[in-house]
Symmetry: C2
Subunit: 343 residues, 2 copies
DNA sequence: TTGTAGGCGTTATCAG
DNA sequence: CTGATAACGCCTACAA
């Protein structure tokens, strides 16, 4: 492998001039620089990463802690990973992928060894050990999602509470007064997954504030769970005309199919909105109105905040993205006089 | 951050002894080593990665080139990524994730800069630029999948040809004589994706050898494509009794649903086998017999071969995993007298 | 505008 | 069994 010394020798300059010419950190005469660049290219010179880390102040590397739980949606997960990795590369950083249960240990290792300049933490739960680690060790890190205690941390997330309110506002504006929420499986709430709770709590509170009848169901994934959820909502809310889903891809699709199987037409009999999910229903049989979880945007934003933290000065803080409503025709207007969803 | 010098000072030994004690690369008196280990732990010492790369011969890092094409199945992709990353960590290596279109450029960069000791290359197509790069630059690399020219390369893959034969053998043994293949979209074959071709070609050849009637369809993803594929197979093979799918999750599920919609019962009217796919149908409405593409196993095997290449001596070569047949009841026996699939 | 020289933290070689 | 010491390749004052 060619080293900076080789380049300097061939170009007939000193190594510091090569370093300066290639890094742009100081002025180098135009012709000198061009000569150096040409030599570097012809020699296939790439600065040695180890030497750079050792001498420089940056490793130009971030670590991504992306554990995969049993109830994690793989496609959504992948979208976040992609978003983070792409944004990082654009900012000149490579991404180290940490997937094991050793999530916290791995973070400790890569940051203590100065392998990574900063950490992006995905799939955060209420009492996440990684939050303590970051706080205790004062690591540069950005969380995608929020633990219960965000003190001293930098977090980015969709504003799930506002998303819930947005769904309700739209449905109420369309004349709906009895609205169900199909949420995550019970175990997800129990694990303390923060966004699920925020969505549910805001949904219930805002429905009350709007004077709307609402009920929440928390189905297990799969067909049976979805069918039971539909039946249960119909039972609890005889005048049910709309449903908001904050659920996995599988549950969401199964629910739509359950409607079909039960003879419930969407949106004529039942309006449906999917919120806080990152899968695409635009080509489904029944394209759904959604309030998407923008994985790319969140990943990119997390990287931007991390880089700011690494390179400049940026204090901690929570940044919540404003939700966007995407209409696709799965919500119908309800005249005030409209009756039950079922004939 | 504590350095090796700190540890040496506190433990009252020289830095070379610390290095030796912690790396185990030479004998150190038991009590000395224990003292050093205790000091290192109490100081939270982690060897500086940059210094280690620079002085040592290994970066303890592999790069994973995992570009995401439009026709890539995200969950399958993720499973490979997980398998590779987990296996690498177990072998003491961290994984650098490369996702951009800069796939080849990124590989060049990370290996020329000695950031990565070796490369794992996913999603390989027939004339993959990354194969040329590896060959030309003599990089240590393992391909998951095979380009057309595997000369000088190390590749691991499922034996798709044998998988096709296995499916046919099972179906023929069950009495089927008219068998359709639902393959990938046309564009995938045209892109030269090697496994798709190997499966199709072996399927056609083996069917001929067995004296079985067969036809191949290459549907576009989605519901309409699947329905058209079923109709077309029924048209081409009036006595169709079995179908082998080597298709995406979406197409596979859509095809099963198309059967339901067309009143074709599985397996009474039509036997189905899914081959070379890594998604799970065991909890579907109609669990399918499969010849799985074992992403974890392939990823782990790729890492094992790469580590062998990095640490020891291991020549190039292609390693094809033997396919396994997993029965789940979607194949029914056909008495010789049985007629067409449709009444 | 360019060159010189010291140091980053570790490993590895070679004396002791 | 242990301790000096020379690389490793690059960055960055500082000097010219």
């Amino acid at each position: 492998m060619a080293t900076i010394t080789d380049v300097a020798r061939v170009a007939g300059v000193s190594i510091s001039t090569v370093s300066a010419a290639l890094s742009g950190k100081r002025h180098v005469a135009l012709d000198t620089r061009q000569r150096i660049e040409a030599v570097a290219r012809s020699l296939g010179y790439h600065p040695n990463a180890g030497a750079r880390m050792l001498a420089g102040t940056r490793a130009q590397m971030i670590a991504l802690s992306a554990p995969l739980h049993a109830d994690t949606s793989t496609p959504a997960h992948m979208r976040f990973v992609l978003g983070v990795t792409t944004a990082a590369r654009t900012a000149g950083y490579d991404t180290l992928l940490l997937v094991q249960d050793e999530a916290a240990e791995g973070l400790e290792r890569v940051s203590a060894s100065a392998l990574a300049d900063g950490l992006v933490v995905m799939d955060v739960d209420a009492a996440d050990r990684r939050a303590d680690l970051v706080r205790r060790q004062g690591r540069r890190a950005v969380f995608i999602g929020m633990p219960d205690d965000t003190d001293g941390l930098t977090c980015v997330d969709l504003d799930f509470a506002q998303a819930a309110e947005l769904c309700l506002d739209r449905l109420v504006a369309a004349g709906h007064r009895c609205i169900g929420l199909v949420g995550q499986p019970q175990v997800t709430y129990e694990r303390g997954v923060n966004y699920a709770r925020r969505f549910r709590d805001a949904f219930v509170a805002h429905a009350a504030a709007l004077g709307v009848l609402c009920e929440v169901v928390t189905p297990e994934p799969g067909r049976a769970g979805a069918e039971a959820a539909l039946r249960r909502l119909q039972l609890l809310l005889p005048d049910l005309t709309a449903v908001v889903l904050n659920a996995s891809e599988r549950t969401t699709r199964a629910f739509v199919r359950a409607c079909g199987a039960a003879g419930v037409r969407v949106p004529e009999d039942l309006s449906i909105v999917s919120a806080g999910a990152s899968f695409d229903t635009s080509e489904d049989e029944v394209p759904l109105d959604t309030v998407p979880l923008p994985a790319d945007t969140l990943g990119a934003r997390a990287v931007a905040l991390l880089v700011a933290q690494i390179e400049g000065e940026a204090g901690p803080g929570v940044e919540l993205l404003a939700p966007q409503y995407v209409a696709r025709g799965s919500v119908a207007a309800r005249t005030p006089a409209a009756g039950a969803a079922q004939d």
